[in-house]
Symmetry: C2
Subunit: 223 residues, 2 copies
């Protein structure tokens, strides 16, 4: 497989993980596009951030309307009036059942139309949180199903699948994108770019990973 001559579609939210995937894909493939799903996110800012990053990186960017998803699964990620909570052993209330299944299926329809065999997604078992459609076994099963559904040889790439957050920052650094991702992506549940609010679970996870990586890079032992 001559990946340098082939085309990839990156599932792209404008967050740390998918932006790292976008840089990774630009290094791996001859041509790269990004697709973002507009499903009534808590913050419209997510879509704007994704658009700004794609424009800055010169990547063709498609925003697909997935408002149907909000209709099917109202919850904290899609409704401003539900607080984000997580009780031990429960799925976070940000969970939309089958979301990655739907996003990756639409990404595949788009990819085939664009003549792209490769689909890149930032899903990751490491910060699993109980989402069944972030598991590697799901992704592999879906890859077979997509190929059968469309009689096409898709290859789903998950460069972050087994990385810790610290290792994802390391990958960003190796791709020459650490400062870009640190300052221009949006992960925060409160819609604040870069380091975010510093208090929501997404910010805490992101900061802990960055601190861990920077400590390692500086040659200092973790406590």
């Amino acid at each position: 497989m001559k990946m340098k001559e082939e085309k990839a579609v990156v599932v792209f939210s404008g967050g740390q993980d998918s932006t790292t995937c976008l840089f990774w894909a630009k290094q791996q493939f001859g041509a790269v596009e990004a697709v973002t799903f507009d499903y009534g996110q808590r913050h419209r800012r997510e879509i704007e951030v994704a658009q700004a990053i794609a424009a800055e990186l010169g990547v063709r960017h498609t925003v697909l309307d997935m408002s149907l998803l909000g209709q099917l699964a109202p919850n904290a990620l899609t409704r401003d009036d539900i607080a984000i909570e997580q009780k031990e052993g429960e799925l976070p209330t940000t969970f939309v059942d089958g979301r990655n299944l739907l996003f990756l299926s639409f990404a595949a329809v788009l990819a085939k139309q664009r003549g792209a065999r490769h689909i890149v997604t930032g899903v990751c078992e490491t910060d699993f949180s109980g989402y069944p459609d972030c598991r590697d076994v799901f992704i592999k099963s879906l890859n077979v199903t997509l190929n059968l559904a469309m009689d096409y040889e898709f290859v789903i790439h998950t460069p972050l699948m087994w990385l810790t957050k610290a290792e994802t920052w390391q990958l960003a650094d190796e791709l020459g994108a650490l400062e870009f991702i640190r300052t221009k992506t949006l992960t925060c549940y409160n819609g604040i770019i870069a380091d975010g609010c510093g208090e929501c679970p997404a910010c805490v996870l992101r900061k802990r990973g960055l601190d861990d990586y920077l400590r390692e890079k500086a040659g200092v032992e973790r406590p």
Copy 2:
């Protein structure tokens, strides 16, 4: 599995096949719902026919907006301005890539929310026409993928998978629904209910199957 005590969601278009599936499901399961996908069909009448049938059968009916699909894959089924043609060895121009994948995935999200494990679809290898996502192997792969995606024990049922059109009419007859399906469903590409225009490929297929079945039933040999 005590199917009589369980709930099923039927993927329902108001055509012959899915209406037969709806009658079949009502016989098999304790509770049945129908879901129809509005993807900018050539004829708005399809949605109305589906609504009328569901109402007459007393089945809860959900119409989901899939207009996104038309945006992704403009073609003959979704655009009034493209003629329906089929050249030998080619897919009919009614083809929407990955349509069953998307419909069944959304049906599964809905089914889980309604507490239904069972999903019924009228897909059929017999009148395959080259649609890869009508194949049995695709359905079985998708079943595994859905179960992994949502950590749920879905069972996809395909009562028509191996039936000819004549055998589908026979099943309708055995379910006591032959006249209902003959007079109240819409299969015709020109949007005409019951026997339809009589000239489009869907009408020709439907009539040939019905004639074959009625001849067999009458004990007359086929020519």
